[in-house]
Symmetry: C2
Subunit: 256 residues, 2 copies
């Protein structure tokens, strides 16, 4: 009847591997401490972590705080929990998170090639049906249209058509777009990007696209069709990307 045997507090060894008041939340310090131990090999794949009670004492914080730190590593896939058994280090860690919105330059740097963007058009046009629909506008409302060509190691890889509602951010018309995407410019102006919804298809290259990308007409194109959504759920940007099939791939993770 009485109760939990938990918190059997031995001699209360403080041992604060984490400490307050340095601006970083305790759970974040715990998260990073564990991450460090894992990447340093102190906690090898497959091994069991100390129990939550043990971590509670070790770090000198409450159990809920430990759980918050551990939970974030679980969301990242670095750890997994099994009720009644324990918390373990995953075998294979997700290399990079490919399910995030990245910039062309970031990806290029990660893959190790030289990146360059050439802007082919930057103007105000009336929204065509598809664009209006994606951006929640009426057909014909003004949108800023930016067409750019992206090069990797000097070769044209992707033709990019972006559309942003004119009323949302008229200044975009005069921004230098050779180093960022529209949504990056929007973020710098205070909009908060939540996520993007993207559709991917394989298409034969049309004549004009084949010409720009210096490939044969009819050769495979990896085609992406993307809408960038703000934190409040409103669309910020609509984009169509045509990438050379022979030099472009997309990687992603699918959760169960």
């Amino acid at each position: 009847m009485s109760s939990a045997v938990r918190s059997r507090k031995v001699g209360r060894v403080p041992m604060p591997a984490v400490k307050k008041a340095n601006g970083v939340p305790l759970y974040a310090q715990i998260r990073e401490a564990l991450r460090r131990q894992i990447s340093a090999g102190e906690l090898k794949p497959g091994t069991k972590l100390p129990g939550e009670d043990a971590l509670t004492e070790q770090f000198g914080v409450s159990r809920m705080t430990v759980r918050q730190g551990v939970s974030e590593l679980i969301d990242e896939g670095l750890l997994y929990r099994r009720r009644g058994v324990g918390t373990f280090v995953s075998q294979r860690h997700v290399q990079r998170d490919h399910n995030r919105l990245t910039t062309f330059f970031d990806s290029a740097a990660a893959e190790g090639f030289d990146a360059r963007i050439e802007v082919l058009a930057q103007e105000v046009v009336p929204a065509k049906h598809m664009v209006a629909q994606a951006l929640d506008l009426k057909e014909g409302e003004p949108v800023i249209y930016i067409r750019s060509l992206r090069f990797a190691d000097g070769l044209p890889i992707t033709l990019h058509d972006e559309y942003v509602p004119y009323k949302l951010f008229p200044e975009l018309l005069y921004q230098e777009m050779t180093t960022m995407m529209s949504w990056e410019a929007l973020e710098r102006s205070g909009y908060r990007v939540k996520h993007a919804v993207q559709k991917v298809e394989a298409l034969p290259a049309e004549h004009n696209i084949a010409t720009v990308l210096q490939m044969e007409k009819g050769a495979p194109i990896l085609f992406k069709h993307r809408t960038v959504i703000a934190e409040d759920g409103n669309p910020l940007e609509f984009a169509l990307c045509y990438s050379r099939g022979d030099s472009y791939a997309l990687t992603m993770t699918l959760k169960r």
Copy 2:
């Protein structure tokens, strides 16, 4: 010096919109109650939710419990929080979560077409280099190879080559594979699938693939290359999928 003005406990109106002891955790009940209010239109997009204190009283639970329920809806993208301001209903909800591992039949049902799988091969073969690498095996170790053709409304859409380590699940060789994928069979045998890593490309159809998919040689194929990972991080299945470019698309969401 004293303290927070929180929990000003009026008359303690129980009003348990959620109740214990029915097997469903309180935070889950709260999550579903809020989800219902949102989809019923009682909480319209853009509106602010009652504060966490208010929800605490309304549901008759502690604040941490409310936060857990709300947090899960935030992870789903249905709500968003702004510190110092409040919690709001997102404008546009993510329609379906396309970042999950789905079965061919589930997707077919969601898209509204008839699905059929025809198994072309199901045998034990030695692992070739690429397969061995993906599955953490030595070259030549036995793997179960299953080639299947997937039809939508009677038309061949995808050619599917799957590989599973023989030692992992020898029974797979005799399973009826016209209704499920290998990883589904593995799950039913107690393995826990965590996620899959997938690469997507656009390729020209080779002769034999073009023949099977009844398309022209050289026409665009959406090619996927996938490894299914278990909870403990070990690879369970490696698959190559060739889909007709003109009748197959992939949708996904990218977080910021």
